[in-house]
């Protein structure tokens, strides 16, 4: 099994949900995480606080962003186990934020065990 990282960006419609719909969305997240844990493929996950800084270039230039202008904000990540990119992608399709225009970036974690 390989490790994959799911990077979640908030759905652009998240701000338009009613309180009941938000609660429902949260309940779906609970259920999803529980399902992944039950299959023993959930390794870790964290939520990220909105906003932050970017440090760039030789002069270590510090800027606010790119978050300030971007509608899609990275809200958190998972690390999960899967046999292949295809399988990981299938799993990502269960993300509860997809119906509210969220996105999941699926990336394989590089392993250096052969070194």
């Amino acid at each position: 099994m390989k490790d994959f990282m799911f990077i979640f960006s908030n759905g652009s419609s998240a701000g338009n949900l009613s309180p009941d719909e938000m609660q429902d969305n949260m309940q779906q997240w609970f259920a999803w995480i529980e399902k992944l844990k039950a299959k023993n493929i959930y390794v870790a996950g964290e939520a990220l606080i909105p906003g932050g800084k970017t440090v760039s270039g030789p002069k270590a230039l510090v800027t606010d962003g790119p978050f300030a202008e971007s509608k899609e904000v990275v809200g958190g990540f998972f690390i999960i186990k899967a046999d292949s990119m295809e399988e990981a992608t299938e799993i990502a399709k269960d993300c509860p934020d997809l119906p509210i225009n969220g996105t999941v970036e699926v990336r394989e974690v590089m392993k250096f065990d052969g070194m």
Binding site: N10, A14, G15, L17, S18, P19, D20, E21, M22, Q23, N25, M26, Q27, W29, F30, A31, I33, E34, K37, A38, N40, I41, Y42, V43, A44, G45, E46, A47, G75, G76
Partner: protein, 423 residues
């Protein structure tokens, strides 16, 4: 690493919806009615934060308190950002900031939250607002429904609701309506508009067969919740409040018995009375007796007494129709409306006065217009003619009702009656 499988975390149904109303009320009291949208934004942010952090970790022990704290801290942030303390001496700035913050903290105490909610109800039910705007604004602001949910509950489209909400908010802003509880002579008339809105909310949920069961139940529950909130506050402890609450409890006790598994209407005489909710009936009796402390008899008292008569009768045949007629006579004095005449006619027919009952309906002013627009008048007339064995007229009115009713369940019921005429 992965923990043992456990059941997914759960929070109380509608927690967000109910907390939304509380948070908006408190925040609006802090920011002012003209900043209602700001309050809504803060609430939305608090929910987004909750969804994120609770999903990835765990639900806090007291989710409601957690949300309130987030809202309070955001409110304090906004106030700090808006105040220009640097223009003042350090000493004055310190005192001003300190006083403001302690006042804000004070407003987040439980007793103050209830008070703020009540102020919000009064503002949303402002007598200068149109009734339909009052209902939409109350559902949005006090009850935490989204525009799409309100549209579904009131059987209209979202754009219409958005328009009503916009119009209502604009009115409150333009007329600098304050978030306050009316006092003195103003209180009773203001309470009456609140009753009207709650009564409307409840009836939309109870009677409108055009929409799905779930949202209708939500609507009834919400009307009851607000009425209870009102009855528990010192200004709301009025006989009329208890009477309205009693009426809602007694009606709601039959909620599940009115419709069968095929979504067809079950008439009162065919309902399984053992399935009526006993707890709600007992609550209804309790509030009805509380409502009798006072001189005042309102329409809610009488309507509640009528509902109680149905609950008291072990079977439809045992209904005390004489007493029912007296109650309808009383109701007519205070509410001389066609629909009351219509219901009274049904009672008269039960007492064997079918011909008189039919005459009462036909003598209503504007009956031609009523028959042409509201299916219920032709449906009842058709029924009464059926009882009077006048199949010619029965068929005429039932056919008319069949064409007019918007409800599939009602159409089914009328079809069954028409079929019985053929046999």
């Amino acid at each position: 690493m992965a923990s043992a499988p456990s059941s997914p975390q759960q929070i109380v149904d509608h927690l967000f919806r109910h907390e939304s109303g509380k948070m908006i009320a408190v925040l609006t009291r802090i920011f002012g009615m003209h900043n209602l949208s700001l309050a809504e934004d803060v609430v939305q942010e608090a929910f987004l934060k909750a969804v994120q952090s609770w999903s990835f970790h765990k639900i806090p022990d007291n989710p409601a308190a957690w949300l309130m704290t987030v809202a309070r801290n955001k409110a304090l942030d906004i106030i700090r950002r808006q105040q220009h303390f640097q223009d003042l001496s350090g000493e004055l700035a310190y005192h001003l900031q300190h006083t403001t913050e302690s006042t804000v903290r004070q407003l987040f105490l439980d007793t103050e939250i209830t008070d703020s909610q009540l102020r919000m109800i009064f503002a949303c039910c402002h007598p200068s607002l149109k009734e339909e705007d009052q209902v939409a604004l109350t559902l949005k602001t006090v009850s935490g429904f989204g525009p799409a949910e309100i549209a579904r509950a009131l059987v209209t489209n979202e754009a219409v609701i958005q328009k009503r909400l916009y119009r209502a908010k604009q009115f409150l802003k333009d007329h600098t309506i304050q978030l306050e509880i009316p006092s003195g002579q103003e209180l009773i008339p203001r309470l009456e508009t609140v009753y009207t809105v709650l009564y409307l909310l409840f009836n939309e949920g109870y009677n409108s067969l055009k929409t799905d069961e779930l949202i209708r139940r939500d609507l009834c529950m919400e009307a009851m919740r607000l009425c209870l909130l009102l009855s528990e506050h010192k200004v709301g402890k009025q006989p009329a409040t208890y009477a309205l609450l009693s009426l809602m409890c007694l009606q709601a006790s039959r909620f599940d018995s009115r419709i069968d598994n095929n979504n067809a209407i079950v008439l009162l005489q065919h309902q399984d009375r053992s399935a009526w909710n006993k707890d709600l009936i007992n609550m209804g009796y309790h509030y009805l007796s509380q409502s009798s402390n006072g001189e005042q008899i309102t329409v809610y008292h009488i309507e509640s007494a009528i509902a109680a008569e149905h609950c008291l009768a072990p079977a439809f045949a045992d209904t005390n129709w004489e007493r029912m007629l007296l109650l309808y006579n009383l109701l007519l004095e205070r509410k001389p409306m066609p629909v009351v005449w219509l219901n009274r006619a049904i009672v008269r027919a039960q007492l064997g006065e079918t011909t008189a009952a039919i005459r009462d309906i036909l003598q209503l002013p504007d009956i031609e217009k009523l028959l042409a627009t509201h299916y219920i008048y032709s449906a009842v007339l058709g029924d009464l003619y059926l009882q009077a064995s006048d199949s010619l007229h029965a068929r005429k009115y039932l056919m008319q009702a069949h064409t007019l009713t918007p409800s599939q369940a009602e159409r089914q019921l009328i079809q069954d009656k028409l079929r019985s005429l053929d046999n």
